[in-house]
Symmetry: C2
Subunit: 246 residues, 2 copies
């Protein structure tokens, strides 16, 4: 008991390096909130996850979340940015590497798709704890009706989308630019939806109860499906072949 009374302000000592916000061994409040938020947002979605639940799981005070991130919405964006931005950078870098390696010849759709999928898989497999199911959080966010989420993701993806649209345009020179945009949109949608769903996990468990690398199995089946869709023959928009019968 004497010890504690001798050094009453001992809890302040580790803060000698005053601007150091990132300490590798001891996780600071901000990171604790971020980690807890990622896990809980993934499990329950944005609206259904309360700040009280997050701050309790992170063992910090309720007001600390608003102090460090401003609002629940900004905390959510911080959670997404932390892993999404590096992943999209990886995607674009990988695509560039493929393009330079191929010389002047256009890449196949399969190759471009793998440039989209491999960084996502790397995130799903290699990251410490929280990264494992981050793709599911991302897929759900992609379908969320909240305007602030849609606008945020739209900005986050803009550069990557433009980059891949150009690549698909070169791979599919017979398609109009508009059609390429649409098909890339379908690809992103199918990818997001597949990663977000729990149905897919149920199907894997049903067919392959022993499998571990769920996401890899998933994407290995999805990739050929999407590549074939991208190469589909064009359908005239004024054609009456579809949707005519009652």
């Amino acid at each position: 008991m004497a010890l504690s009374s001798v050094v009453p302000s001992v809890s302040r000592l580790p803060k000698l390096a005053e601007q150091a916000t990132e300490r590798p061994n001891e996780v600071d409040t901000k990171s604790r909130i971020l980690d807890a938020a990622e896990e809980l947002f993934m499990e329950h979605g944005f609206e259904a996850t309360s700040l009280r639940l997050i701050t309790t799981a992170a063992s910090v005070n309720l007001a600390a979340a608003n102090y460090h991130f401003g609002s629940k919405e900004e905390l959510f964006q911080a959670v997404l940015t932390r892993r999404l931005d590096p992943m999209n950078q990886d995607r674009m870098a990988l695509l560039t590497a493929y393009e330079t390696a191929s010389g002047g010849t256009a890449l196949t759709c399969e190759k471009i798709i793998s440039a989209m999928f491999i960084p996502a898989l790397k995130l799903a497999r290699n990251h410490d704890q929280g990264g494992k199911n981050f793709l599911r959080l991302l897929g759900r966010a992609y379908a969320d009706p909240a305007p602030f989420i849609r606008e945020f993701l739209s900005n986050q993806y803009a550069a990557m989308i433009a980059r891949f649209r150009a690549a698909f345009g070169r791979a599919l020179p017979h398609l109009e630019r508009e059609e390429v945009s649409w098909r890339l949109h379908f690809v992103m949608g199918a990818l997001s939806y597949t990663l977000a769903g729990t149905d897919a996990l149920k199907m894997i468990a049903q067919f392959h109860p022993e499998e571990i690398n769920n996401d890899e199995l998933l994407l290995k089946r999805l990739a050929p499906f999407l590549a074939a869709g991208l190469r589909a023959p064009v359908q005239a928009t004024d054609s009456h072949q579809w949707f005519q019968e009652t």
Copy 2:
């Protein structure tokens, strides 16, 4: 004033047919809540829509929602069921009609897809007011993380999914049953996601500002994409063609 005192229970007179809960000219409380809820859920999502907002828009008391539907979750399910169940019945009926019309020959993927899409389009086009954007509400619900929504939709779609899986299995006899299940899952995902997104509407507005039938344009582009994906060559799951490079 004499009149009102003579017939004090005049307000009960229209209820002579005591079990009549649906009156065409005057909308009852339950339907008013249902209509307002459909519109607001579609606009803001499930969690972000408050019962107070719904009941105010419907001009009914707050407690009426819980009285008629039990809870906010059950109200949401009631909103979905009202239009989703008839649509899936239509889909299965249309598929049966196609199959009997074709005699013994297997249907094409395009034909089966149109059996899925046409009832959805009919709902988007023909229904009075609320039906217009119901598909977007449905697509969002399909990606919602809330367990009660996922379980509800899983039950709602079970019969229709089984029916269409069998049809696709006959159309694609070279595919294993498991592969057919996966590809049907991708089709449902792409359809839901495409209908749910606001990005698609932005793209339509960008390319065709004059167009009205948004959903029809959307599905006319999506259908060939999905049909080609369904016919894609099988990719061995242990193949190392994909996802090997860094």
